[in-house]
């Protein structure tokens, strides 16, 4: 503890330099935390995909529709607990850039399938009693300032209403919260019965199925069994685990995400290298003083510790502030204005950040510290 004061005084000697070094480390770690969140956003909740859920889609491609009648047949497959369907609505609110996912679903089935979607009992009841009722996730509701009771017009780009009308009006009866931090709260969900009777064409067709299975261990086997049921029918299916489905989707963004990440990693280390070099320079400058300390009776190891401690203190301050700022910046909202379904700093990024702080303190400090340790008093004082 008594050395802390000494370390602190050393840092205060050249205040400007210390502050600038801390600031550049801060920037690097702020960037690190922020990009961690963006990466998570692109990955879209792979971590929270239910292990016991499968996705069944048309074998030819995701855009092909499946008959709603598949549901009963899927539920008969051994090992399947429950099945429900969703359909991509693909409309926009007011202007084309106001994009968020909208899906017609069967309310009871949906809420049973996704327990992480939290809705109060009143809102649940209201949704079951209102044919044109819809619920929205907290993120989307806050983005547009919606309140329960609002009437929300959505412009359909695929599904026109009977008579060619493009605007669908929904009554917002509830706003759901996510049980976990990774839960997607950008969705807008409305009733399938209302959708099916109002749409101009495609009655009885749905987009894909979500299936709950009893035993996650058997997911591959059950997926094969489901696909077997529809083999050689006009609507063959492809079934995979929800996690694999979501991950496959994220991978489509592919190269570009990876390229941005690797470029940025390179610069993160550039900034750190620059800061580390400055710290090393600051120590070298004081060779004479270190020799005096040794002459006063500091051990070799003591001097080593002092120099390492100084680097560690600088890095810890800068890195700590940086991670905190990054976290705050992420809390202010995502740069695309709500298109990323998830945007938060995952805990493992913070842990990695802290490890990096330790690694950097060691790397930047070790060379000058070793030099300081080996310093011959007589040589150094003569310089």
């Amino acid at each position: 503890m008594k050395y802390l004061f000494l370390l602190w005084s050393n840092l205060r000697r050249k205040k400007t330099r210390s502050v600038l070094t801390v600031l550049s480390i801060t920037v690097a770690f702020m960037l690190f935390a922020y990009l961690g969140a963006i990466r998570q956003g692109f990955g879209q909740g792979i971590d929270v995909a239910g292990l016991d859920r499968l996705i069944v889609r048309h074998k030819v491609s995701l855009i092909q529709l499946l008959p709603a009648a598949h549901e009963a047949r899927i539920e008969q497959v051994e090992g399947v607990v429950d099945a429900m369907h969703q359909t991509w609505f693909g409309g926009v609110y007011q202007k084309p850039t106001n994009f968020f996912p909208q899906m017609p679903v069967v309310p009871e089935e949906y809420l049973a399938m996704y327990p992480e979607v939290l809705l109060s009992d009143e809102e649940r009841k209201a949704w079951l009693n209102t044919r044109s009722g819809a619920i929205a996730g907290r993120t989307t509701a806050d983005r547009f300032g919606w309140k329960v009771g609002d009437r929300i017009p959505i412009n359909a780009s695929i599904w026109t209403r009977k008579g060619g009308e493009q605007t669908w009006e929904f009554d917002l009866v509830g706003i759901y919260e996510g049980a976990e931090r990774g839960t997607d709260t950008t969705q807008f969900l409305f009733r399938y019965d209302f959708f099916d009777e109002s749409r101009e064409f495609g009655q009885g067709l749905v987009g894909w199925y979500t299936v709950r299975i009893a035993d996650p261990e058997r997911s591959a086997e059950i997926a094969a069994a489901i696909d077997g049921v529809f083999a050689n029918s006009p609507h063959e299916t492809k079934t995979e685990a929800e996690g694999a489905f979501v991950q496959g989707f994220a991978k489509q963004i592919g190269d570009v995400g990876a390229i941005i990440m690797s470029i940025v990693a390179a610069v993160f280390f550039t900034i750190l290298l620059v800061a580390g070099n400055t710290m090393a320079y600051a120590v070298r400058e004081r060779t004479g003083e270190l020799a005096v300390l040794k002459a006063l009776g500091f051990t070799d190891r003591g001097v080593l510790g002092l120099v390492l401690g100084e680097c560690a203190l600088l890095t810890a301050i800068g890195g700590g502030i940086g991670l905190l700022l990054g976290w705050l910046l992420v809390g202010m909202g995502d740069p695309t204005g709500g298109s990323l379904p998830l945007f938060y700093v995952p805990p493992r990024v913070l842990v990695t950040g802290i490890v990096l702080i330790a690694v950097m303190a060691l790397l930047a400090g070790i060379l000058p510290a070793l030099q300081a340790q080996r310093l011959q008093i007589a040589d150094a004082l003569r310089r």
Partner: protein, 399 residues
């Protein structure tokens, strides 16, 4: 008259003196150069992704061409046009003609999953069903390998970009469509446009495979001249048989790429600004070190009668020079590493892959170097002012 001249000669002599002593401060100067080079390299490379996507989209558009979609639909994926409607659209005024009739091509647009070469994972590749007029409407379409598919047969031709990015698109191999395997018989280019990411097949073959009956998703058409657009559009919107909207290709593709372009540009700019801040701190450190190491020299100069203006300018010019060197190195690195680099990503608007080449354009290089100079300017300004303000007597006394 002697005043300003004297001032300028003072600047020159101090600046030259400064620059000559640069090698003595090689370590700390190199640090600043290195930092700035890194920042500029990243900025230029990230923005070149956005430029590349934009260029691909612009290459897709031709000024006389229009896209007709069902009104309300923003992309082909969400649109549909019945076969009868397509015939009505082909009769509209203002269209260019050839022996085949009006240059209007009704097309079908679906996606098939193929494996990406780089990752081996599924990607949504656009499969376009076309009619005989399609190559005439897109006048930059030309076959570069193999032959065109035969009309009415289960054969496909693939775009150059698609072939480079996805597995199993060599001539002689075949792609799975529904329960069938369709052989690849040719490779085409389309002026570097979006179509090069696509696979083309006869629309009449694709319709039954996807249970589309006699329907299409969009009509691409070539006008007699860009000026005929209004006449064509009015004819379509006033026709009671149709509920379609017509947009110029340029507007259509600009809208298609808007989300992706804005996302990457926004992200790239944000990252560049944050990193730039880091580089400014690095440059400040370097220049403060440089100035404090020479505090006595500078004080001596001022005691000799050099004024503070030239001192400021000379310190600034040193940091600008470092920034210029760093920025140029960074820009050149980005250009060497990424210009023409090919990649593919998901275009969220059309829900399908778009292959493109990174485009490190000259204007981007200039922007990178200007950004570097800005960093150098800010990084040099404060140390310069400090150097000039230091009381001469105190600085001379300092060790």
């Amino acid at each position: 008259m002697a005043g300003p001249l004297n001032w300028i000669s003072q600047i020159f002599s101090i600046a030259l003196f400064n620059l000559r002593t640069l090698p003595q401060r090689l370590g700390s100067s190199a640090t600043a150069v290195f930092g700035i080079a890194g920042v500029v390299a990243v900025m230029v490379s990230v923005l070149s992704i956005a430029e590349g996507i934009l260029k691909t989209m612009q290459n897709s558009a031709s000024p006389e061409n229009v896209v007709v979609l069902r009104s309300g639909a923003s992309t082909e994926m969400m649109s549909w046009v019945l076969g009868d409607d397509a015939r009505v659209i082909a009769e509209a005024p203002g269209l260019a003609r050839s022996e085949e009739g009006a240059l209007a091509s009704p097309e079908l647009f679906v996606i098939i999953p193929l494996k990406k070469k780089s990752t081996g994972t599924d990607a949504n590749v656009p499969l376009r069903g076309v009619t005989r007029t399609a190559p005439l409407v897109r006048d930059r379409f030309r076959l570069v390998e193999g032959r065109m598919f035969e009309w009415g047969r289960n054969e496909v031709v693939v775009g150059r970009g698609a072939q480079l990015e996805f597995r199993g698109l060599e001539i002689g191999s075949s792609i799975p469509v529904g329960k069938e395997e369709w052989p690849v018989v040719g490779v085409f280019e389309a002026g570097g446009g979006l179509a090069e990411t696509e696979i083309w097949v006869d629309a009449l073959v694709l319709q039954p495979a996807y249970q589309r009956g006699n329907s299409y998703q969009a009509v691409y058409a070539k006008l007699e001249s860009p000026g005929a657009f209004q006449e064509f559009k009015d004819a379509l919107t006033s026709d009671p048989r149709l509920t379609v909207s017509a947009v110029r290709e340029a507007d259509y593709f600009a809208e298609q790429s808007a989300v992706l372009y804005n996302l990457i540009t926004g992200l790239g700019t944000l990252i560049a600004v944050i990193m730039g801040l880091g580089a400014v701190f690095g440059a400040l450190n370097t220049m403060y070190t440089a100035v404090s190491a020479r505090a006595r020299e500078i004080a001596t100069l001022r005691a000799l009668g050099f004024r503070s203006g030239p001192v400021v300018v000379s310190v600034l010019s040193e940091s600008l020079l470092l920034a210029l060197v760093g920025g140029s190195i960074g820009a050149v690195l980005a250009w060497l590493a990424f210009d023409g680099f090919r990649a593919a990503t998901l275009n969220w608007s059309s829900f399908s892959q778009v292959a493109f080449a990174f485009d490190v354009s000259p204007s981007l290089l200039v922007r990178g170097v200007v950004f570097a100079c800005l960093i150098g300017l800010i990084g040099g300004l404060f140390p310069a002012v400090r150097a000039a303000r230091q009381p001469v007597s105190a600085a001379l006394r300092e060790q």
